[in-house]
């Protein structure tokens, strides 16, 4: 299976196209089986992945437009491997939990196309291919929000589309300029990221390019002040849309930072640490406070996503292995935890068709299983040790402390403010007497929902207690990334800020 990556990318696409002829009644089973196969394939990828090799693996290279150096170029390393697996997993679980009946065939097919695009983004090593998948991922999401969303769905979906699209166009300009620079230095065109890595750019070019890429990624993350599309998108999207959006689509932005910004522009990245840290802190504190003010459960979780993404971005720019590995791990944990939380909100929405906290209260008495799983995910979300949420958050804060204690302390307020809005949410929704008559007869989680949620609970515990199988490959790749950045950096500032771990130093 040398072409495992191509199979991973295009299997959902082919299955999606074939899905048009599947009968409407069996489309659900069909979709779930496709997602299972895809997930198993991704697990197979992990099993045959060499965790000790920090470089790209399963590389596929087919020239597409040789004159311009555009290739079909795929590969995974420790950084992208687990995001791919998480993508497959969240798509599968999200699909299992779908409760929508209307036009379910189109929904499932959109999801399959979306899965193709998402996996494609994380495995492509050619900027143009990356960009294609990146933009394509907008389309199914646009449909999912626009067709199955809430009352403001059209506004939300168009806002989501145009906003992220604007950002990525600027990124495209950056890519083209990067390719132009590469051509002017080496004489040949190339869009391959690994080729670009070799290019040492003057610092002022780095800064401009960094900003161009930054806008593309920052809107996707979404970073303050580009975040306002997210609450609308989440608020209006159906459950499955929110799950995929929070779990995977947002990670594209932070993944972009790791894949493009850091290795391509090491000096600029170091110079931009403080501005980005400032934005991250605003994201963390400001959105946590905004989350506290929300009345809608889903909005709380949407804003909490922004807040957590702030921590992830901070870790990405920690410039040491602890912080960057932690940030990538946090991407996974946030994907799983926020995905689960959105699934849980979906559960209650299906029963009551409202997400307002004031409508609920005392749900713990009526729906104990639901309350337990919700509480569990809540604890993972606020970063309780021995859950998946702690490992990443701890590493990120630890890593960034090396750069700036003050920033870390400010960012560390996430553990306080996170507890504030999450516990308030929990108290208002689950504690107290059951005041609303309609809530008295709610059913607890059914089998379908348990199937979707229990695996997530298990993963949260497993990776909380034993993160090593995941953290080690990530860490290996991150260490080699940092070593590379340190070598490539030209300014003394960057040399100073990029901290190599002992093991990487010994390896040199």
């Amino acid at each position: 299976m040398d072409n495992i990556l191509s199979i991973l990318v295009f299997f959902p696409l082919i299955a999606g196209v074939l899905g048009f002829v599947v009968d409407k009644k069996s489309i659900r089973v069909y979709g779930i089986s496709v997602a299972i196969v895809e997930f198993l394939l991704s697990l197979w990828l992990w099993s045959s992945f060499d965790g000790n090799n920090p470089g790209m693996q399963f590389v596929e290279l087919v020239p597409l437009i040789p004159d311009f150096g555009i290739n079909y170029y795929l590969g995974v390393d420790g950084i992208s491997l687990f995001i791919v697996i998480m993508t497959a997993l969240m798509t599968l679980l999200g699909m299992i939990a779908i409760s929508i009946e209307r036009d379910i065939k189109n929904l499932i097919l959109s999801l399959l196309f979306l899965e193709m695009a998402m996996v494609g983004v994380f495995v492509s090593l050619d900027a143009i291919i990356f960009y294609l998948f990146w933009e394509f991922s907008l389309v199914p999401m646009l449909y999912i929000i626009g067709a199955w969303g809430g009352p403001l769905r059209i506004y939300a979906s168009i806002k989501f589309f145009l906003y992220t699209f604007t950002g990525s166009l600027i990124m495209l300009v950056g890519m083209l300029f990067m390719a132009y620079l590469y051509q002017s230095v080496s004489g040949v065109w190339s869009f391959s990221i690994t080729d670009w890595y070799a290019l040492v750019l003057p610092v002022n070019y780095q800064l401009w390019l960094f900003v161009a890429f930054f806008l593309g990624f920052a809107i996707k993350v979404p970073m303050f002040p580009f975040h306002t599309w997210l609450p609308y998108a989440h608020g209006q999207a159906p459950t499955i849309g929110s799950v995929i959006l929070a779990a995977v689509l947002l990670k594209m932005g932070t993944y972009g930072f790791v894949r493009f910004s850091l290795p391509l522009f090491p000096d600029a990245s170091v110079m931009m640490i403080m501005p980005i840290a400032t934005i991250s802190i605003i994201m963390i504190i400001y959105t946590a406070m905004v989350a506290y003010a929300q009345e809608d459960i889903k909005q709380v979780i949407a804003y909490s996503s922004v807040s957590h993404m702030g921590v992830i971005v901070l870790g990405t720019f920690a410039m040491n292995a602890e912080g960057v590995s932690g940030s990538i791990f946090l991407m996974l944990s946030h994907g799983i935890v926020s995905g689960a939380l959105f699934l849980l909100v979906g559960v209650i929405y299906d029963r009551r068709h409202t997400k307002l906290m004031s409508e609920f209260g005392g749900l713990a008495s009526v729906m104990p299983k639901f309350a337990v799983i919700f509480g569990f995910m809540l604890m993972a979300s606020v970063g309780l040790p021995l859950t998946i949420g702690f490992v990443g958050e701890f590493l990120v804060l630890l890593g960034f402390y090396h750069l700036s204690p003050i920033v870390t302390i400010l960012a560390g307020t996430t553990i306080i403010l996170g507890a504030v809005y999450m516990l308030t949410l929990y108290k208002r929704t689950f504690f107290g007497p059951v005041t609303n008559e309609e809530n008295k007869k709610l059913n607890d989680l059914d089998g379908k929902e348990m199937i979707a949620l229990v695996p997530l609970v298990l993963i949260v515990v497993w990776l909380g207690i034993y993160p090593k199988p995941v953290l080690e490959p990530i860490d290996n790749s991150v260490k080699s990334l940092l070593t590379f950045m340190e070598k490539k950096a030209q300014t003394p500032l960057a040399k100073e800020k990029i901290t190599l771990s002992q093991t990487s130093k010994e390896a040199e």
Binding site: M289, A293, E322, S365, L384, Y401, G432, Y466, D475, V478
Partner: protein, 631 residues
Amino acid sequence: MEKYLYIALFAPLASSLFAALFGMSPKKMFVGVIASILLGISFLASVVLALYVNQTGEGIHVTMMEWIGAGDLLVPFGFLVDQVSVTMMVVVTLVSTVVHIYSIGYMDHDKSFNRFFSYLSAFVFSMLVLVMSDNFAGLFIGWEGVGVCSWLLIGFWYHKPDVSVEENPSISPSWAANEAFIVNRIADLGMLVGIFILFWNTGSLQYDVVFAQIPHLSEAVLVAAATALFIGAMGKSAQFPLHTWLTDAMEGPTPVSALIHAATMVTAGVFLVIRANPIFMVTPDVSYFIAALGTFVAFFAASMALVNRDLKRIIAYSTLSQLGYMFAAAGLGAYWIALFHLAAHAFFKALLFLGAGNVMHAMHDELDIFKMGGLKKSMRWTYIYMGVASLALAGIPPLAGFFSKDAIIETAFNEGRLILWAILVLTAGMTAFYSFRQVFLTFEGDRRYEEFGIHPHEMYKFVLIAMAPLAILAVIAGFFQSAFHSFITQLLPNYEMSAHTHHLVWILGAIVLAFAVGGIALAWIKYSKGLKRSEKVENGFLYKLLKNQYYIPKFYADFISKPYAMISELLWKSVDMKIVDATVDGIARLLYNGGDSARKMQTGNLSNNLNWMGVGLVSLLLVATITALIG
């Protein structure tokens, strides 16, 4: 011996998971029994370990597996059983076992009986992780674990509605639970920062590695680390200004208060200071601050206890006060005395709380001591238990409290901190007074409860028997002082009184005793004959100030919680929606409106179009000319 270590550690976890299996089913007696037996096993294993450590004088250190490894950071699940941790283990498992058995009786009628045991055992597991871990990150696991269990247990009766602050200062169990968790989180941030400082300066989080590096660290780093760690300790041990949660935490079931909010969890902060004593020893300023703060809290909490009418809150204040004593001792360098007081306090305070639980059980959850009185007839054993515990708390010889508390007060004198000494002595008198005010109001005098139609009855026999070990320990624990001293100073730095102090030891003891006895006597005079309320006193400023806890909760509510909520609302509605989002929408609207107004150019009138073409032509020419001129 590793086997015993794992048994001691994981028996509570097994108990918790077992109980969790039945978490949603109706009450099953065997769940409580099995949980208690597993806790008993854990206790026995701890005792075996204690004996082993005592015999060999060596600790047991095991590394179970790797936890987090990234960059240079490597955190294993490592466990360390040495003199300090084994002391904590024995205390924790003993009190927990008693509390588990007690809870079988106390939670008798509760529909969430099974769930309760699950939480309680989970708490014990977290606490054991906290004390046994061989590194700061592991300590933090336990630290947060007990925090969550405390949240679950305080909010155990989550279904109670919120009421106004006048009716119940804690508003509701779920409110109190959230408050406890959030306040602890504030302190946890300090703790995390301390961990970060240590990691980046020593490259490890293992206690032994970190402590070995201390001589090489600069003073600024050490002060920062010590301060940050102590902030963590302040939260868990409810020191001022993070103390409000502890009294509100009394909303939880009484066994919980006994186990978590008296005997074990709240002492975690003291444990941290003792555990990290190499750091605090080289930072005298921070240590002195700890001692001063401890002394202040001892007095401050005791003063609030003087006027409170709530049975459990009085005990909570006394816990706070005693924690202050412990910090005073630890801050003055007498780590072993702090640990000794910690253990002794655990016994008599748990006993006191369990006794209060008996009273509550008898009085149908009535907590106002002004509505009780004369219970000694119907609840003789409880009276004895609470009396013994209160005597121990007041520091009457030969009970445990006398030895441990006296040692702390002596230490203050020995260190030449006479102001601290004076405050601590005064506080000892206050302690005696409020403890016995409470006891006498509850058990002596007229039967005020009869107005409310309550028929009190004694607790189940097995519960009373289960409480016996605590009572016995509260009495005799003091006699082991010297044995404990030689055992614990194998690990902790020795602290001996100077010859001068040694000379004066009887005089000092007598002064303290005089204050204590005086306090008790005052309480007897005022309250043994029944309740005499004085309008004048109750309307006085001082009484009101104390009754309202110095208005600190109100201050927090008015100046932190409410502004936070308001600012949040403002940020959302005004900033996020009206500025950030409106800017985005504004840009979109600009483009849209621009297009809309540009549409008006398309009049369809050819002449108009031609005019526009002319404008375009002129502008192009202009551009060409300007570029030509510039170029």
